[in-house]
């Protein structure tokens, strides 16, 4: 299973970026291999629909779970369609957020928790 965490930098010690569509990087943790990979979020440069572009990229990478701070309505619809589960409320470093998730301390989002364009 692949878990993507929205991040400001490219290591597990980087701070989480609470914005999904406009975050700089995603750290992708593969539970099968135990390896972390950093990927650039090219979607953040979109003039509009950044969350949708991000969701497409995560789907193409075969991500199953995304951990972030906030998710807007369009990104949520796109992630849901792609079958990607969203966990919100991430904070601190990427590693800390991953631990919170693994300890079942993050809640699975059932709907968007931010308005459209709130990441800009």
């Amino acid at each position: 299973m692949k878990i993507a965490i929205s991040s400001q930098g490219d290591s597990t010690h980087s701070q989480v970026n609470p914005r999904l569509g406009r975050c700089e990087k995603f750290i992708i943790y593969d539970t099968d291999t135990g390896k972390n990979t950093a990927v650039d979020n090219g979607g953040r440069l979109s003039s509009g629909g950044a969350g949708i572009a991000t969701a497409r990229m995560l789907a193409d990478l075969g991500v199953n779970v995304v951990i972030t701070g906030f998710v807007g309505p369009k990104a949520f619809a796109a992630l849901k369609t792609a079958g990607i589960k969203v966990y919100t409320g991430a904070q601190g470093t990427v590693e800390e957020s991953l631990q919170l998730y693994q300890q079942n301390k993050l809640e699975e989002a059932q709907s968007a928790n931010a308005g459209a364009h709130s990441g800009i």
């Binding site: 979109s46 003039s47 509009g48 969701a55 497409r56 789907a59 369009k74």
Partner: protein, 280 residues
Amino acid sequence: MQISIASGKGGTGKTLVATNLALSIPDQPVQLMDCDVEEPNAHIFFQGQPVSRITVTRPVPKVDAEKCRHCGTCSEVCAFNAIALLDKMVLTFDDLCHSCGACWYLCPHKAIEPLEKEIGTVEKTDVGDMVLVTGKLKIGSHISPPVIKKVKEQSLPEGINIIDGPPGSSCPVMETVEGTDYCVLVTEPTPFGLNDLTLAVKMVKTLGVPCGVVINRDGPDSVMVEEFCRDNNIKILMRIPLDVGIAESYAQGIPLVKENPAWKERFEKLYRSIVEEVQA
């Protein structure tokens, strides 16, 4: 002839100038066209009978799930992230779509068709002396140029069309001013008015439309507008003083030229100066 009215800054008096100018043009068929489609308000000055109503639409993609082979071409070609292939399903986001048509032209399986979506209306009203054409953007729609375009298509080929525009200097104003014979820029003598007039002049010059300035709420501070106009070789066509009487009649929805015939002469003079400028 098409005469557009713009300003840059909002609230400088575009509608004041447009309505009174339209009411002061002698011996010609006149049409007043409200292209401020997000908040049309010229109709407040008139009572009349509705003549016609046109619905304005724009195309957005409609995906046929049976024909779709999930190739992702539509997602790749969309510059606005308005269509996305996600796990064998294509999602569309109409409010991000700019109706460019790339997805339906380039879909290799002909699985996307344009679907016309209502975004506004154009209403014609007979207000006695002339016809008022009002464009209205549907609430929730945010792409106004197609509605403005449809208003302008109603122009009288033989006659004078006064086209009241929205504030600003971006797409909706450009759509309003583009192709008109002359643009009247209404400004006020404040740093805000001048700042936005500067932007509006750049916009009008980019479009290659000749322009002149009307200073509304004219007073001692008009010096800065005069300086700007002199430096940029722009004619000051008219001055409307800062006057309680003018504000009162405007606030009551009474056109200035109906309240005070002296103003009809001044606006007729404005019209004649514009014609002179166009013919120069």
